[in-house]
């Protein structure tokens, strides 16, 4: 379980997180919705320890990540992984090398085993035969899938997705959503998806949380979430899909 307690983070004069509290249950997929600039991606970066909060605590099970030193933090986050908004593939490496990166750094598998795991991960995301291509040769959707392969190859227990469908056409976005669900079913991991794509949220979520001005103001199962009558939620849903009968979709 991941527990976020009273998290504050500011950049200069701009206060982004304002006492954010959140509990993410083991094995669930929690989608965090919210307008741009409300600190959704910042929250993921705090969970992973990429940035330190100004105050507040983040627990992974009983381990307080925010109090760990650098070396201990790197040990603690070995079982976590993140899909970045712009994929963040290493552009000096091939797709295969990108996918093998974690295993080469942290495992004692033989080259042959790593190679077979890489091929398996690439085939899981539908990128067979691309292991020798450079990231610059891939389309946006393929880059996202390659980044997902790099993530699932080491089977992390916690998966963080930062805007996984942003900038993709609807069909590719749906493929990525399917892959998130498939990955969840295969790895039984705890997943946190940050997005403002309602379709994506309803497709992948077990629960949905709404981040408003740096705080979680609502959290509910997706069935309950679309029935919330609060103008904040209704506005968000209405403006995302103007005529949609959300839950039936």
């Amino acid at each position: 379980m991941i527990r976020v307690k009273d998290l504050y983070k500011a950049y200069g004069n701009k206060q982004v997180l304002r006492g954010l509290n959140l509990e993410i249950q083991t094995g669930e997929t929690l989608v965090i919705l919210g307008r741009s600039g409300t600190g959704k991606s910042v929250l993921l970066r705090q969970i992973l320890g990429i940035e330190k909060p100004d105050s507040g605590e983040i627990f992974l099970d009983d381990l307080c990540l925010t109090q760990l030193g650098e070396h201990a933090l790197y040990k603690a986050i070995r079982e976590m992984g993140m899909l970045f908004q712009a994929s963040a593939l290493f552009d000096s490496m091939t797709v295969g090398e990108n996918t093998a990166f974690y295993l080469r750094e942290h495992s004692h598998f033989s080259q042959a085993t790593i190679q077979s795991k890489v091929l398996e991960a690439l085939s899981m995301v539908g990128l067979e035969g691309t292991e020798n291509l450079m990231p610059s040769n891939l389309s946006g959707g393929m880059r996202k899938r390659a980044a997902l392969a790099r993530l699932i190859v080491y089977r992390p227990k916690v998966l963080l997705y930062d805007e996984p469908t942003t900038g993709l056409d609807p069909i590719t976005a749906m493929q990525i959503n399917d892959l998130i669900v498939k990955t969840q079913q295969e790895l039984h991991a705890t997943s946190v998806v940050v997005t403002h794509d309602i379709c994506s949220a309803l497709h992948v979520a077990d629960r949905i949380a709404l981040n408003h001005e740096g705080k979680i103001v609502y959290i509910a199962t997706k069935e309950e979430f679309v029935k919330i009558q609060d103008p904040l939620v209704k506005n968000f849903l209405k403006n995302s899909i103007p005529n949609g009968d959300l839950i039936n979709e």
Partner: protein, 266 residues
């Protein structure tokens, strides 16, 4: 007035942050050293791939030094000091500084651009997300590469420079091989060699740490990468010139004190 105050203040903050980054890199490297493959990559990139440009610079500088020495000293009956002048200059001053300049242009700028691009495209964050310390993975191998290869390149540049001076002195100015080379062994001391090596080590440290610091602190997309790269080259050049002066004076003073106490070693 405020503008200049903030500029100076920013510079001090920058030096502080640079110090913190280097201390963290040192600590991370002590905890778990970078792999040999990463270090070998950097040794090849910094050392082997810089050989042509360093050779051209050293050779042409040797030619110019020898020609100038011959023309300036010849009419005073000191043409026989040409080889010595080229050797000493290449080893203690021009070799280390020009090599450092070449490496800054070829390697330092590329370090900042690569690390800066990785920073703004979240590749550095991706490393962290996979529990890989970017200071150990990206910065430490570059510092080790520069510290190792700068002295090698400096000595190489000096040797090529002396050879260039020899070619022009013998083939154009009619000096004999012995006339050019004989004064060198008896006058070039261990102090000169150590001066060249110590300067190269300091320059290697300056180039790698400033370039990596500027790269790792890049913000603001492509424009930010360009700005960081320009800044890092300008700062490296400035520091190399200032540190070169300090080292020249400092090492010579130390040498004089040493000779006074223990007598001449060479």
């Amino acid at each position: 007035m405020d503008f200049y105050f903030y500029k100076v203040f920013d510079s001090f903050v920058g030096v502080g942050l640079w110090g913190i980054l280097m201390a963290r890199t040192f600590w991370a490297t002590l905890k778990r050293p970078p792999s040999w493959n990463l270090i070998l990559d950097q040794l090849y990139n910094i050392g082997v791939l810089s050989l042509p440009v360093v050779a051209i610079t050293g050779f042409s500088t040797g030619l110019v030094l020898a020609a100038q020495s011959f023309y300036q000293l010849g009419d005073k009956g000191l043409a026989s000091a040409t080889g010595l002048l080229v050797g000493k200059s290449m080893l203690t001053e021009i070799g280390p500084v020009l090599t450092a300049f070449m490496v800054t242009g070829r390697v330092g700028s590329s370090m900042t651009a690569v690390l800066g691009t990785m920073q703004v495209t979240e590749q550095v964050d991706a490393l962290r997300s996979m529990a890989v310390n970017p200071l150990r993975y990206l910065v430490a191998p570059r510092i080790i590469g520069c510290l190792t290869m700068l002295p090698v390149l400096t000595i190489f540049s000096a040797v090529v420079g002396v050879y260039g001076g020899y070619l022009i002195s013998v083939n154009v100015f009619g000096m004999t091989k012995q006339g050019y080379f004989d004064p060198i062994p008896s006058n070039v001391t261990y102090f000169d060699i150590w001066t060249g090596i110590i300067k190269a080590l300091c320059f290697g440290f300056i180039i790698s740490t400033i370039s990596c610091y500027k790269g790792m602190t890049t913000r603001g997309g492509a424009a930010g990468v360009g700005k960081s790269t320009t800044n890092s080259v300008v700062i490296c050049y400035s520091y190399i010139l200032v540190i070169n002066f300090i080292l020249t004076v400092g090492l010579n003073v130390m040498n004089l004190i040493f000779i006074e106490r223990f007598g001449k070693v060479s």
